[in-house]
Amino acid sequence: MAREAVIVGVGDVPLKDGRVVGGGSVLQVQARAAKAALDDAGIPMRHVDGLLVAGLWGVPGPGQLPSVTLGEYLGIHPRFADNTNIGGSAFEAHVAHAAMAIEKGYCDVALIVYGSTQKSERSRTLGGRPPILTMQFENVWGIPQPVGGYALAARRHMHEFGTTEEQLAEIAVATRKWASLNPAATMREPIAIDDVMNSTRISDPLKLLDCCLVTDGAGAVVMTTAENARAHGARAIHIRGYGEAHTHWSIGAMPDLARLTAAEMASRRAFEMAGIGHDAIDLVECYDSFTITVLMTLEALGFCKRGEGGAFVSGQRTAPGGAFPLNTNGGGLSYCHPGMYGIFLLVEAVRQLRGEAGERQVADLATALVHGTGGTLSSGATVILSNN
């Protein structure tokens, strides 16, 4: 029988006020998340023979070879490594790459891990990356990074489709309601549309509450064969489809500022592989670096038509109790956002599909779609998961 790759473990580290509880280096927090996910799977670290990492740590320095450094630190000798870094969506791409490696027999147990201590280190600013190579044409203008690129997209979307700042605010408000149900979320106090509208202006039309948090965090996902999952008594989450794409990093090179081309490409392929339609999706976890990211992603994934994202999210349709449960852990907007967020979309989707999400559990779930976005609306990677 053909090997089937499944997800058998997820883990993260506890946060308090956006900081890792007990502190720790970026290697320590990744080790803790990896152990949590492996313990969840019931699989020992010594069985890990595939290591998939992406990060923004240790550069210049050991982070230049991240899986090599992390493998050493964890005391394992992987025979499959993937350092694919396409931004915050990298981890959804890692699931696809690990699935192919496992199904081909190239590895048996794959560990995907991410961590950041950016909040504790106070290392994040709106300043740009070095103005070298392609970025010499972006960073000399003082564009706040990365919010400015998203602001340009939001402004263009508003121009082409009549999308309003209030509609973007609907997303922030609904996501905060989900966060209020998640004890691990950094920001849990409910907010209203007016709070978003009156929050500090950052890069018009985006305001503070349109933007994700800046926190620490670490998360991990363990994958293996369905057969190995049974042998360890682990509950398997099935991978029904996946896809990935990237189109640009310089915002000046984005094919269409009002259209998320990478997400269109990635999700089309994932739906084709899964052989299902949008009606079969019970839950969506999508990257919410900014409110506009969510709106454009929902359009690109095909849950509404181009230009109709504003209407789609209006009336708190994505909030708890709404017609379209979305970002049920409180997202990057209110739960946590440690630089690259995509691993947490996977962790939450798996917990929801297993019925382990506590107060925020969505009822009667079978199939979830996870979509990561990275860079400046640059990359997209989709994974469709099911619990049966």
Binding site: T125, L126, G127, G128, P130, P131, I132, L133, T134, Q136, F137, E138, N139, V140, W141, G142, I143, P144, Q145, G148, A151, L152, A153, R155, R156, H159, T200, R201, I202, S203, D204, P205, L206, S250, I251, G252, A253, L257
Partner: protein, 138 residues
């Protein structure tokens, strides 16, 4: 230019030097593909439209329109703090390519998508000139 210019300066490389050299002479020069006829920006070794390597540098008119814009209310680091609020815009040049730039205007609230703009060369150091734009309606 008695003050020291502390903002990020492009690290000019052989592939981009003709653009920055032209800017210093107050010309806007970008590559055009002899194979498909299209201009592109930023400058590349292969045409991003048809992947031909048959490219030439051409001076363009320096006119275009606002494709999108944002008003920075928070600076991109302390060196831009004194400029807040300022406009970062994506311009579509009349020749086709888009470029990121600043729009220099007294009233940042006035900028709209579709506004016609014209290049204005800003000599920020003896070695560096930045092609910024002004609103034709200003």
């Amino acid at each position: 230019m008695s003050e020291v210019y502390e903002k990020p300066q492009p690290v000019i490389d052989p592939g981009t030097k003709p653009f920055w050299d032209a800017a210093r002479e107050h010309r806007l020069s970008i590559p055009r593909c002899r194979s498909c006829g299209k201009h592109h920006f930023y400058p590349r070794e292969l045409c991003p439209h048809c992947h031909s390597d048959d490219l030439e540098w051409t001076d363009v008119g320096g006119k275009g329109e606002v494709y999108s814009y944002t008003i920075a209310r928070k600076p991109a680091g302390p060196v831009f703090a004194a400029d807040v609020p300022y406009v970062i815009a994506m311009i579509v040049l009349d020749e086709g390519p888009r470029m990121l730039t600043n729009i220099v205007t007294e009233d940042v609230e006035k900028v709209r998508i579709g506004d016609r703009v014209t290049v204005r060369f800003d000599d920020v150091t003896p070695e560096l000139t930045l092609p910024k734009f002004t609103l034709d309606k200003d």
